[in-house]
């Protein structure tokens, strides 16, 4: 057993921290906040291209694909640093689609996509959810019809975050509507500039935007099919396992601010942090952050051992996102009335950010599979409980 980073990993992490400190600008942080921490805005692209030039976006990829040939543990640790610093941290291409292409894509596809992805030059948006297919992704309805040289795609997606800033759609479509559940789905990469695509905004309660995407006779080249026809559900599930690996460090940073607030704020002549109830709550969160760290790095360790995280990813996702919500709710409780105040109010605490984190954390336990779906996965895949 070993619960520490190697010397080499430490050194790179130091470099990463220094880079972020010197290169992140107020404009970058503002844009990242406005987009809900996804990648794709102009400020983010400038920052990330420079960042990725060091191999830091995909350090565990082989060198031929733009990685450093280092550990997934390092990749996970770098993602934590990015989350903590509130720079873009959600990378569909580099951290969800990319590893799936690496596993299942043809040589041609790997050559075409992996290098630009590792350099941060292209970003994807996930194209899974549809109005009638939320938790049940087998209920997809969008069709891709084989037309010889290309697929012709028609249908609708919803909640496709990043579609308005990304370059390509990582699209789950139905290619064999007659097949049984899960066996008629294919994954393909679609250029958002293709004629016939219409992206319409959906505004979230956190202020950032997600999207509906409409397909009207959109032509997709055959070479953009990922892996085999009708095997898409496996690829989608694999990409989901990577997506669920959740760096909690953004909320750890919020937690640290709450701790500082509790230490510095006096009520009746005594710091809030001396209140036994406040102490118990904050200590419990500190403990849960530590638990999450182990669940998180366990996933990276599995990848380093050549495995794809499975129910373990669901476990970490549930634990991390529920901890995130506990942190924001506890923060609201500890800050009291001031927690409701937005940036700009002279009475606001924590720069008016508490209420935003409280709002945005609602979706954490929902996207990429709700906590309930994750628990189903843990039970069915992890414990092999019967499905009927």
């Amino acid at each position: 057993m070993d619960f520490d980073f190697s010397k080499e990993e430490r050194k790179i992490l130091d470099d990463v921290r220094r880079f972020i400190e010197s290169e992140s600008t107020p404009a970058l942080l503002e844009e990242t906040h406005r987009l809900g921490h996804i990648y794709g805005g102009p400020e983010g692209r400038t920052f990330i291209r420079k960042f990725a030039a060091n191999g830091w976006l995909t350090p565990n990829w082989p060198r031929e694909y733009g990685g450093l040939g280092l550990s997934a543990v390092l990749t996970a640790a770098i993602r934590s640093e990015m989350a903590r610093a509130s720079v873009p941290v959600v990378f569909v291409a580099a951290h969800m689609a990319g590893p799936t292409i690496m596993h299942f894509g043809s040589d041609g596809m790997k050559k075409e996509w992996l290098l630009p992805i590792s350099r941060g030059e292209v970003e994807f948006a996930l194209g899974y959810t549809e109005p009638q297919a939320g938790s049940d992704l087998s209920a997809l309805d969008i069709r891709a019809v084989d037309k010889g040289d290309y697929f012709l795609v028609n249908g609708q997606k919803s909640f496709n975050t990043a579609a308005h800033v990304a370059d390509y759609h990582w699209l789950a479509t139905l290619t064999d509507p007659e097949a049984k559940r899960y066996h008629g789905m294919s994954m393909m990469i679609v250029d958002f500039n293709s004629p016939g695509i219409d992206i319409r905004p959906m505004k979230t309660m956190a202020g950032w935007q997600t999207n509906e995407v409409f397909y009207n006779d959109v032509r997709v080249p055959k070479k953009n099919l990922v892996g085999d026809m009708n095997a898409g559900f496996l690829y989608l599930m694999t990409a989901l396992d990577f997506e669920r690996m959740y760096p909690l460090a953004a909320f750890e940073a919020v937690f640290d601010k709450i701790v500082t607030y509790a230490k510095e704020t006096e009520i009746n002549g005594e710091p809030l942090s001396k209140n036994p109830l406040v102490r118990q709550k904050l200590a419990q969160l500190k403990i849960e952050l530590e638990v999450d760290k182990l669940l998180y790095y366990r996933l990276a360790y599995m990848i380093d051992c050549g495995q794809t995280p499975n129910y373990q990813a669901s476990m970490q996702k549930v634990f991390a996102t529920e901890t995130a919500q506990k942190i924001t709710n506890t923060g609201m409780d500890i800050l009291g009335h001031c927690s409701q105040l937005k940036k700009g109010s002279t009475h606001a605490a924590m720069e008016g950010m508490m209420e935003w984190y409280y709002r945005t954390s609602v979706v954490e336990t929902i996207y990429a599979g709700t906590s309930e779906i994750q628990r189903n996965i843990i039970a069915l895949r992890g414990l092999k409980l019967p499905s009927k």
């Binding site: 619960f3 200590a283 360790y301």
Partner: protein
């Protein structure tokens, strides 16, 4: 990073499972708990032959120079089998106390005897009210000529009835300056004035009340230094807390092994109860608790082994494991239903083990407060 045991640890684990699944059956556990029998010497000797008592002891003192992580592997298996007996009190409480506080001469005398399984020890530190901190230690040791006279009562002393030596934390001075006010004494359990009574506990384990009625010990029985006992004891207690978590790791794994097959086999409404999402979610939560107890425990054990163990580590680990293990058992009871409430169903053994382990060396509230302190709150 590496989340797996090494080969040696896997071998250790397998050999422990082999011995304990034969010798430490739940029937055996029940017989000890209800007082039908005491822990058998033959089993103690078998454990000694396998070298379990030697793990923590350096080679120069007759040990095998393994480490805390290796010991945790054995404790993990002991927890899995709900094992009673004086191993923990002798090897963890006693062995660690001598290692941390003892003079070279004391180590040379006592450690080889522990390693060979010929010396049983226990640690007497709690008193009325079960206050964990140094302020809870009131039993007095007063110097009279060339000896110390111990007077007072210790509670919750594990296996004091079968120990050869009771390490007693006594108050010898006020806490001031360089003095922490506490001194550890090696007390021969056969000394005049010692009175050991077994306490009737929920789980039937051997927690004892030990009354010291003017027990006289020579100055050579001071373990380590006069008025410097607390620092060593505090370190022993923190490590013992992690060792308890190792037992809880095994206990939680066993609860999974009891409950999950039951959920797959038991049918209601025409299907296995494990096919119902309400049961599945309980089971998913149980697995999350069980796995995280394990990771937290082995991270702490690894840190002890690597010498990078901080004040916060033991408390973070013990607070989590204590509450999570209790949750595993509570959810397990809910999944199993009425059968789980029956004495003959093994879950009850682990229910008791969980509460007992939760309270030993500080419960969740206690350790959260310590975490808060370490956070500078």
């Amino acid at each position: 990073m590496k989340f797996d045991f090494n080969q040696g640890q896997n071998i250790l684990k397998e050999s422990a499972r082999k011995l304990l699944s034969n010798e430490c059956t739940t029937e055996f556990v029940r017989e000890i708990a209800d007082g039908t029998r005491e822990f058998p010497e033959e089993l103690w000797e078998k454990m000694a032959e396998l070298g379990w008592m030697t793990l923590l002891i350096p080679e120069e003192y007759g040990g095998s120079g393994f480490n805390f992580l290796d010991l945790s592997v054995i404790l993990y298996e002991m927890g899995y089998h709900c094992m009673p007996g004086p191993f923990f009190s002798t090897v963890v409480e006693g062995g660690l106390s001598v290692l941390e506080a003892g003079t070279p001469a004391q180590k040379t005398t006592i450690l080889p005897e522990i390693a060979e399984g010929k010396h049983k020890l226990t640690l007497a530190w709690l008193e009325t009210g079960g206050v964990y901190g140094r302020e809870g230690i009131a039993l007095s040791a007063v110097r009279e000529d060339d000896r110390f006279v111990l007077t007072g009562t210790k509670l919750f002393v594990q296996n004091a009835h079968s120990a050869d030596t009771i390490i007693c934390a006594a108050r010898t001075a006020d806490t001031s300056g360089t003095s922490d006010g506490i001194t550890l004494f090696l007390v021969d359990s056969k000394l005049k004035g010692l009175d050991v009574t077994r306490l009737p506990t929920m789980s039937g384990d051997r927690q004892c009340e030990v009354r010291f009625n003017r027990v006289e010990v020579p100055e050579t029985c001071i373990l380590g230094k006069l008025n410097q006992g607390w620092t060593a004891l505090d370190s022993v207690l923190r490590k013992s807390a992690v060792a308890t978590c190792a037992e809880m790791t095994g206990g939680a794994e066993k609860v999974m092994d009891i409950v999950i097959p039951y959920a797959k086999g038991r049918k209601q409404f025409g299907r296995p109860i494990g096919a119902f999402q309400s049961i599945q979610h309980h089971c998913a939560n149980m697995l999350t608790f069980a796995e995280t107890i394990k990771f937290m425990t082995f991270q702490a054990a690894w840190r002890i082994t690597e010498g990078v163990f901080s004040e916060m580590d033991a408390s973070i680990c013990k607070a989590w494991a204590s509450d999570a293990y209790r949750q595993v058992v509570a959810l397990g009871h809910q999944v199993v239903g009425g059968v789980g409430f029956m004495e003959e169903f093994d879950l009850q053994l682990y229910f008791k083990q969980a509460k007992c382990a939760q309270q030993r060396f500080g419960d969740g509230d206690f350790h959260r407060e310590r975490v808060a302190e370490a956070m500078g709150l």
